[in-house]
C-alpha cells in the first residue's frame, strides 16, 4: 500500500487487521524481520515534498516519504545542510531504492558529524505521525526551542515505525561550511588512534569528524580528523592539530574538498564492509574503552568513528558478539546478518528489565493492536 495523503495513510492503519510493515525507501531493513511474511507493506513514498523551508530561520518541514536526495538538494541550493550527515545503508546492506527522510528519522540515522552537531534526533524539532489506531498526532513544531509538553519527537525518532508511522518531520538545519580539510595520521595502533582522537576532540578546534581505519585505503592504519568552516579558520585549526599530534606519527592533510568528502563518505557508509561475507555489528561504546573492546571482539574487520564511540565490526556469520564481549557500557546492534541469524540473535541489545517493561508499555499504548512493525525491535 502506498497512500497518497496522510488521511489515506491513517485510514489504511485504522482499517488494518494484520501487521503493517512500514517502509520509507526500504534501504535499511535493520531489525528482526522474521515475521514479515504475514501482513502488508505500508509505504510512505506517496507522502513527498518540502512543505516549508525558511533558510533564515534554519527550519525545514518535509513530508516523510520525501527522498533524502531531494532534501539534500533543496538545502544545498541555499548553502545549508542536515547537520547530522545521515549514513546511506545501501552499500553496506546491499539494498537498492531511494532512502527517504522519514526512514532517516525513524531509524535516527546519523553519521560522523554526530560528535559535533548531534544525532538525527537532536536536529528533529517536530513531527506528525499516525499511531497504531490510525489517529493522526503531532508533537513539537517548527521552532528549535520548544519545551511545550513531553518530547515525543525524541521518542519517535529511532522507534523504527513501532510507535507510529511518521508522516511529516521538521528539522533544525545548519549552514553548510565553506571549506573542509582532513588531517591524517598514518600507522597508529587502535589504542593510539583512539587516544589521538580523544585529544583532538577535547581541544577547542571543533573537530567535526574523528575516525580510524585499522586498514586504510592502502591497507595500513589511517586516522582521520576533519575540520570544517571558513577557509582561513580551517587552515588554522588543521595546523593546530598538527602541532598537537605531530609526535604520534607521520601526518598529512587532505585539503582537496572532494577527496576529503569522499573519505568521510566511506566512513559514514561503512564502505569497508560492503560486499564482505560476515555479519556486521555496530557498537556504541565509551570512546576510551573502544580499543580494548575491539580486541576482545576478535573481529576480522573494524572501523572506528565518533572518536572511538562507534565501532563497526565484522564477525563470522552467526557469532554471538554479546556473549563473546560480556557486559560493557554501551550496546551492540546486529546491522547485517542472515534472517536465520536475526531469528536467533537479538538485533538490538536486550535492555534492563525496568526499561524493557517501559518500552513494552509504550508500544502497547501507541499501538495497542500490535500492528506496526510487530517484533521488529524485539
Amino acid at each position: 500500500m502506498t497512500p497518497a495523503t496522510e488521511a489515506e495513510l491513517a485510514e489504511a492503519v485504522r482499517s488494518a487487521t494484520a501487521p503493517l510493515w512500514i517502509r520509507g525507501g526500504g534501504t535499511r531493513p535493520v531489525g528482526n524481520t522474521a515475521a514479515e511474511g504475514a501482513g502488508t507493506v505500508l509505504s510512505t513514498a506517496g507522502l513527498s515534498g518540502v512543505e516549508l523551508y525558511e533558510p533564515g530561520a534554519l527550519t525545514l518541514v518535509v513530508a516523510a516519504g520525501t527522498p533524502l536526495a531531494e532534501v539534500e538538494r533543496t538545502l544545498a541550493a541555499e548553502n545549508q545542510r542536515l547537520p547530522f550527515e545521515p549514513m546511506d545503508h545501501r552499500a553496506l546492506l546491499g539494498t537498492t531504492g531511494e532512502p527517504t527522510i522519514g526512514g532517516v528519522a525513524a531509524a535516527n540515522v546519523s553519521g560522523p558529524r554526530r560528535i559535533q552537531a548531534g544525532a538525527c534526533r537532536d536536529s528533529m524539532i517536530g513531527l506528525r505521525f499516525v499511531d497504531g489506531q490510525g489517529q493522526v498526532l503531532r508533537n513539537g513544531g517548527r521552532v528549535m526551542k520548544n519545551v511545550t509538553g513531553y518530547d515525543l519527537v525524541k521518542l519517535l525518532a529511532g522507534s523504527r515505525g513501532t510507535l507510529g508511522v511518521l508522516t511529516q518531520v521538521a528539522f533544525k538545519v545548519l549552514p553548510a561550511t565553506a571549506a573542509q580539510a582532513t588531517v591524517m595520521i598514518e600507522g597508529l595502533s587502535d589504542a593510539s588512534a583512539v587516544d589521538a582522537m580523544c585529544r583532538a576532540l577535547a581541544s577547542p578546534f571543533e573537530v567535526s569528524g574523528a575516525a580510524h581505519m585499522p586498514q586504510g585505503p592502502d591497507g595500513t592504519p589511517l586516522t582521520l580528523l576533519r575540520v570544517e568552516g571558513f577557509e582561513n579558520s580551517v587552515k588554522y585549526r588543521a595546523g593546530r592539530l598538527h602541532e598537537m599530534l605531530g609526535a604520534l606519527g607521520p601526518m598529512r592533510d587532505e585539503a582537496d574538498p572532494e577527496a576529503s568528502a569522499a573519505l568521510w563518505k566511506s566512513v559514514r557508509d561503512a564502505e569497508a564492509f560492503a560486499g564482505t561475507p560476515g555479519d556486521v555489528w555496530r557498537l556504541s561504546v565509551v570512546p576510551t574503552e573502544a580499543a580494548a573492546i575491539a580486541t576482545r571482539l576478535g573481529a576480522g574487520r573494524l572501523l572506528y568513528d565518533w572518536g572511538g564511540g562507534l565501532i563497526w565490526a565484522e564477525l563470522a556469520p552467526g557469532t554471538d558478539l554479546r556473549a563473546r564481549l560480556g557486559p560493557f557500557e554501551g550496546h551492540a546492534t546486529l546491522v547485517r546478518a542472515s534472517a536465520e541469524t536475526r531469528k536467533t540473535l537479538p538485533v538490538f541489545q536486550p535492555e534492563p528489565a525496568p526499561l524493557d517493561r517501559i518500552a513494552a508499555g509504550l508500544r502497547q499504548r501507541f499501538d495497542p493492536r500490535n500492528l506496526l512493525n510487530p517484533g521488529l525491535m524485539a
Binding site: R121, R138, V147, D151, L152, C198, P204, V286
Partner: protein
C-alpha cells in the same frame, strides 16, 4: 490558577507518613513542622503558594528510592524540586504532597575529560558543573539565566536552554545518561557515556517531562573544551523589522554565532536607566557573539559587520578588548534586574519563527495598549525564543489577573504564528491550561500515555503540564485506588 483539592485522607495520615519517612531518612532530612515547610511553598513563580504536607531531602539515590517506595505504597503525591527556580510553577506543592528536594545531592561523581563527560548528582547547580571542570578549560554548555542557582535536576525536568543554544543546543542535546528512580522506587540507568540509545530513546522523553516520569538523581552530561575566545558586536537599528532581517541574513550567510540577543526600545530604556551601559537609544538592538581564535573571530565578524552595514544601523560597536565586551553585555545581563527595579514583572517564554518577529512585536504593542500594561522584549533572536516582560503591580488588586490575561494572549499569538507556548521554562502550572491552544486533545492524550506507563498511579507532580480537566480522569482514578 486552579489546583486540585487535596485528598483529606492523605492529610489525615500525615503523622504516620512522617514517621515512615523518618524510618528511612536522617531526622533532619524530613521537614514537617508548618513553619519549616513554608520555605517550600512556592518556586520562582511566587504568585502561587501552598505548603506541602512535608518535605524530604534525601542524601543518596537509595534514600530517594526508599522515599518513593513509601509514597507509592501510601498513594501520596510527590512533587520533585531542584533548586526551586522554576518560573512556571514546576515545583508548586499541593497540600497533600511530599516535596522531594535534591538539594543534598550535589557531588561530582566523575569528570572524564578524555570522553568529554561529567557525571554529577542532580542537585548540583548548573554553574557549578562548569565550575568543576573550568580549571581544565572545559564547560557545560546549556546556560539558563538562573544558572547560578538552578539545579541540573530542574534543567533536565524542563529541558532548559539559555543564550547559547543556537550553537550548542539545549539540555536534551547535552544529556547522555541518567540514574532515575521510578515512581515505585525502582532504580534504573538510562543511557551513559555513549552517544545513542539501544532501543527506544527513553532519555529523550525523560528530559523535559517536568518531573512527572521519575526522579533523576544522577546525570551524565557532555562537556566541551572552551573556545579560544569570544567577542560580541552590538548593533542598533531604527526598526524591529530591519533587525529581524539582519538576523536572518547573518544566518543565511553561513555564520553560526554562538548567541544573537535582541532588545526592544522599552527594554533598552529601562536597562540604560539601571545599568548605564551606554546603549544607543533606538528601536532594536542586537548583540551578536562569535567564538574562536582571534583570527577566526575577525573572519566571522567581518562577514557579520558587512551584513549589518547593509541594513543601515544607527550604531555598530565592535569590541576591541575584554572590557569592551563586558560593556556590550552589561545591559543585556542587567535587563531582568532593571525591570525588577521598575515594577513586578512576569517573564514569558514563547518561541516564534524568526520571520514572524516584526508581526509579533507589533501585535504585542497593540495588546500592551489594550491591557494598559507596559511590556519590554528581550529575545534570543537566533532561535526565536522570546522573553516579553510584562510589568504590573502585585499590590494593585486585579493587576496580576490582567497581566496573566495579557500573557496568555501573547502566548496564543506565538502559537498562531507557528511557534509554541514555552521555549525553555516549561509548562508547569503557568501554561498548563493553554496546552489545548497548541495541541489537540488527542496529541495531549498521546503525551499522557507516556506518563501512564512510567507512573501508572499519577503520583509524580500530578497537577502540572496537562490542563486539569484533561488529566482529571486519571488523577481521580489514582485517588480512588
Amino acid at each position: 490558577m486552579e489546583m486540585p483539592s487535596p485528598d483529606p485522607r492523605i492529610i489525615a495520615k500525615k503523622s504516620r507518613l512522617v514517621s515512615l519517612l523518618q524510618g528511612v531518612l536522617p531526622d533532619e532530612a524530613v521537614i514537617h513542622e508548618p513553619h519549616e515547610t513554608r520555605a517550600y511553598e512556592c518556586d520562582a513563580l511566587t504568585a502561587y503558594k501552598c505548603p506541602p504536607l512535608c518535605v524530604v531531602l534525601p542524601g543518596s539515590t537509595e534514600e530517594v528510592a526508599a522515599v518513593m517506595r513509601i509514597c507509592h505504597a501510601e498513594g501520596v503525591p510527590v512533587v520533585p524540586r531542584g533548586a526551586g527556580t522554576s518560573l512556571a510553577g514546576g515545583s508548586l506543592p499541593t497540600a497533600d504532597s511530599v516535596v522531594l528536594g535534591v538539594s543534598r545531592l550535589t557531588d561530582v561523581l566523575e569528570a572524564d575529560y578524555r570522553n568529554r563527560v561529567i557525571r554529577v548528582q542532580t542537585g548540583r547547580t548548573n554553574l557549578s558543573v562548569t565550575g568543576a571542570v573550568e580549571e581544565n578549560d572545559f564547560f557545560y554548555a546549556p546556560d539558563p539565566s538562573s544558572q547560578l542557582a538552578c539545579a541540573i535536576a530542574g534543567n533536565i525536568g524542563m529541558n532548559s536552554g539559555g543564550a547559547h543554544c543556537l550553537k550548542y543546543g539545549v539540555t536534551t542535546n547535552n544529556l547522555l545518561g541518567v540514574t532515575m528512580v521510578l515512581a515505585d522506587g525502582t532504580v534504573t540507568q538510562v543511557g551513559g557515556a555513549y552517544m545513542d540509545a539501544p532501543g527506544l530513546d527513553l532519555l529523550g522523553v525523560i528530559c523535559g517531562s517536568e518531573g512527572q516520569l521519575g526522579i533523576v538523581t544522577e546525570a551524565t552530561l557532555r562537556i566541551l573544551h572552551k573556545p579560544e575566545g569570544a567577542r560580541p558586536v552590538l548593533m542598533g537599528f531604527d526598526s524591529d523589522e530591519v533587525a529581524g532581517e539582519c538576523v536572518s541574513d547573518i544566518i543565511k550567510a553561513g555564520v553560526l554565532p554562538v548567541a544573537i540577543e535582541f532588545m526592544d526600545r522599552p527594554c533598552i530604556e529601562a536597562t540604560e536607566d539601571f545599568a548605564k551601559a551606554g546603549y544607543p537609544m533606538c528601536e532594536a538592538l542586537l548583540i551578536v557573539e562569535v567564538e574562536g581564535s582571534p583570527a577566526e573571530i575577525d573572519e566571522q565578524l567581518a562577514v557579520i559587520l558587512e551584513i549589518a552595514r547593509r541594513h543601515d544601523p544607527v550604531e555598530l560597536r565592535e569590541s576591541k578588548s575584554p572590557e569592551e565586551s563586558a560593556a556590550i553585555w552589561l545591559g543585556r545581563k542587567a535587563a531582568f534586574g532593571a525591570m525588577g527595579q521598575i515594577n513586578d514583572y512576569m517573564c514569558l517564554d514563547g518561541t516564534i519563527p524568526v520571520s514572524a518577529l516584526p508581526l509579533v512585536l507589533k501585535r504585542i504593542n497593540e495588546l500592551s495598549r489594550h491591557y494598559g500594561l507596559d511590556v519590554a522584549n528581550v529575545f534570543h533572536a537566533g532561535d526565536g525564543n522570546m522573553h516579553p516582560l510584562i510589568l504590573f503591580d502585585a499590590n494593585k488588586p486585579g493587576d496580576l489577573e490582567l497581566c496573566e490575561a495579557f500573557g496568555a494572549d501573547i502566548l496564543k499569538l506565538c502559537v498562531e504564528v507557528g511557534g509554541c507556548l514555552t521555549g525553555e521554562h516549561g509548562v508547569g502550572i503557568e501554561k498548563r491550561d493553554l496546552m489545548l491552544d497548541q495541541y489537540d486533545p488527542a496529541d495531549l492524550e498521546a503525551q499522557m500515555w507516556v506518563k501512564d506507563v512510567f507512573d501508572p498511579n499519577w503520583l509524580l507532580n500530578p497537577a502540572k503540564v496537562f490542563p486539569l480537566r484533561v488529566s482529571a480522569g486519571r488523577r481521580e482514578a489514582s485517588r480512588a485506588a
